[in-house]
């Protein structure tokens, strides 16, 4: 059938199984939005307050569901507003397809109104991007974009479509996406790795988001249990291994547990699975796992040896690798090693309770009590993010959405909205933010209200850019340069101004009450928690340091 480019966009989205998109209209995408109007029974479009919010929403949607997130924006400022969202998705390997309109082909290159070279701008923050030159190539380009976004290590792909391409017509035929399994590459070094595991005395597994993305939670669990290996994880993998499991040592790295960092430091074998030895984990690459042989399992060959050299590596999808490895692993007990780890665990940092104020760890704990095991947590960036990572009792995979690689303040609200849309009201959606971060994206409240999305926003208000201030306190002689803004924001009033409910709490009882009410409302709610500005994220290993440099108080 003969369709316009705009209709082809809608048709390919449907063909690719997309029923939800996020975005914001404008001149260059008028035709696409006209098609979305026509196809509104098949594609739900969610309009944000700002394109960045839409990009984060598509990202949150993708992280929660594992499906590809789709975001649409107009040319020029619409496209540049996506940039932070795309970079956030890139750093955390989130499958995302960004569709930008551009000025008509005849106006490209003339500094036309709202023209930017978005393909150039996004080159280093996408897996790939395309400029569509003619309507004939549109459908296949879109299909390829979805394929690239999902294949191997996922990531964002951008397609720039000049306006005339959306008007012109071409023949279109539905091609259902064949789930062609990627060609089977023989996995190398399996025997060697199995031998290393079977002969190690003090093994540690350190795993990351790759386990979640590949859906290898069960296989990882079986490996840990069978060979009795204690494990630590990065923020990207929170929830993959249940909180409270005796083999769970907690987070690794800068704000990780002392036990996890000590275990890696003393291990004779570190199995790094679906992870990339970032500078927040391997703070000092020379000292990281210094006594251990390192085995690195990852789908991306360019990660092997990038930051920390591996003794052996297996390149492949984590689920496939672990499935192949499991039968070769001998059942083992590491009684002595686990006893040592339990001894360390006794001495792990534990903040003191105080019900008369709001202590970060108690707030997190209260959230878990009220929201239950099923909740989805979304954070912004700063101290509150680390408290959420440390003290939420993570139990479910794909349920902690946070900007790990880019550390994007302002990620939270948009991502929470995307998660709420994906979830459709089944699970509690808890957005944990800081006063600084929230000022970057609170405008998305209007989106939550428009679509009545039950996002509960907990604002950890310490009145400062806490994470920046903590560094200034520790490393810059308490010179609080631009980290103590004298803001007078009345969150309850602002919430009401946006048409949602707001609460303000100063002690634990008040917070619990507000949270219960919020959960009952099944509507967007803000809860402001007043926190002492001196609260710090502990423990902490300074950048470039090792477990020997850990700050505990």
């Amino acid at each position: 059938m003969l369709l316009t480019g705009a209709e082809i966009v809608a048709e390919v989205l449907i063909e690719q199984g997309v029923d939800t998109v996020f975005g914001y209209p404008g001149g260059s995408v008028l035709n696409i939005y006209d098609a979305l109007y026509q196809y509104s029974d098949k594609i739900n479009h969610y309009m944000s307050a700002h394109e960045q919010g839409a990009a984060h929403a598509a990202d949150g949607y993708a992280r929660l569901t594992g499906k590809t997130g789709v975001v649409i924006s107009t040319s020029g400022p619409g496209a540049t507003n996506l940039v932070t969202g795309i970079a956030t998705a890139y750093m955390d390997s989130v499958p995302l397809v960004a569709i930008t309109g551009n000025v008509p082909t005849s106006l490209i290159g003339r500094d036309s109104f709202q023209e930017v070279y978005i393909a150039g701008i996004t080159m280093p923050i996408t897996k790939h991007n395309f400029t569509v030159r003619s309507v004939e190539e549109l459908a296949d380009t879109l299909r390829t974009a979805f394929k690239i976004a999902n294949e191997g290590r996922p990531g964002p792909v951008l397609i720039d479509i000049p306006k005339d391409v959306t008007v012109n017509k071409a023949d279109f035929e539905v091609i259902s996406p064949v789930n062609k399994a990627p060609e089977e590459k023989r996995l190398k070094h399996l025997e060697k790795v199995a031998d290393l595991i079977n002969s190690s005395k003090f093994p540690v597994v350190y795993f990351g988001g790759g386990v979640r993305i590949s859906g290898a939670e069960q296989e990882l669990f079986e490996l840990l249990k069978k060979a009795e290996i204690p494990a630590t994880y990065t923020m990207m993998a929170a929830g993959v291994l249940g909180y409270g499991d005796e083999l769970n040592m907690g987070l690794i790295g800068m704000h990780g547990s002392r036990t996890a960092n000590l275990a890696v430091d003393n291990a004779d074998l570190v199995l790094a699975i679906g992870t990339r030895f970032s500078d927040r984990v391997a703070l000092n690459t020379n000292k990281f796992a210094r006594r251990a042989r390192i085995v690195h399992i990852d789908i991306d060959p360019s990660e092997i040896g990038k930051n920390v050299p591996a003794d052996t590596s297996i390149i492949g999808d984590v689920k496939k690798v672990l499935t192949a490895l499991l039968p070769m692993i001998e059942k083992a007990n590491h009684t002595e090693w686990l006893a040592q780890i339990n001894e360390w665990k006794q001495k792990d940092y534990r903040p003191r309770d105080d019900d008369s104020v709001l202590k970060p760890h108690q707030v997190m704990s209260a959230i878990c009590d009220a929201a239950g095991e099923d909740a989805v947590y979304i954070t912004d960036v700063g101290q509150h993010q680390m408290w959420a990572a440390q003290y939420i009792r993570h139990l479910k995979t794909k349920s902690f959405l946070t900007s790990g690689g880019l550390g994007t303040m302002g990620y939270g609200y948009g991502a929470a909205i995307g998660a709420a849309v994906a979830d459709g009201g089944k699970r509690p959606i808890i957005h944990i933010t800081g006063d600084g971060s929230f000022h970057m994206n609170m405008n998305e409240a209007c989106t939550a209200v428009s679509y009545n999305l039950p996002v509960i926003t907990v604002i950890m208000n310490n009145s400062v850019l806490g994470m920046v201030r903590q560094w200034q306190k520790t490393f810059y002689g308490k010179r609080y340069s631009s980290s103590e803004p004298e803001r007078k924001t009345n969150y309850k009033a602002v919430a009401e101004g946006f048409g949602l409910t707001g609460f303000k709490c100063t002690n634990l009882a008040e917070f619990k009450e507000a949270l219960d009410k919020a959960l009952e409302l099944k509507a967007p709610v803000w809860i402001e928690c007043v926190i002492d500005r001196e609260e710090a994220v502990l423990p902490m290993i300074p950048a470039g340091g090792s477990v020997d440099d850990m700050i505990i108080n």
Partner: protein
Amino acid sequence: MEKHYLSVLVANHAGVLARISSLFCQRGFNIDSLTVSATDNPEISRITIVTTGDEASFRQVRKQTEKLIETKTLFPLNLRTSLLRELLLIKLRSNNELKPKIEEIAKKYGASVIDVSVGCMVLELTGEPEKVDDFLLKIKDYEIVEMCRTGVTAMERGEVTYLLGV
């Protein structure tokens, strides 16, 4: 710091060069020379990159380049089994007295005189980069008006051993 030679076969698309050079730039890798050329396959271009850096970062930038969607295949060139060529154009100040002396050096290197104008002459030399370097040393006493080198283009001897991914 070693010199590295890399052959990259890429899809002949607009923007490929930008993608590759942006990647080298981001990873802090200096490009000594880069040539893009057509191949017998109209859909494939061949990029030859010469860079200087330590082995580990070269390996990293190679893997990163390999990941680009438009990279079909890529391989470091083994200097012993490869043919490397570069073209030099050089304009030298000359007069009746200097001209025969310059011509004599040119002859030794197989460089040809491709233009003689009032006060200057232009030489062309093709050869291995070392030969070009060497030639430049020999004529360093003469005044260079302007010069340009194309950078290295290269291929391996014998049968083609790489596979083009699709």
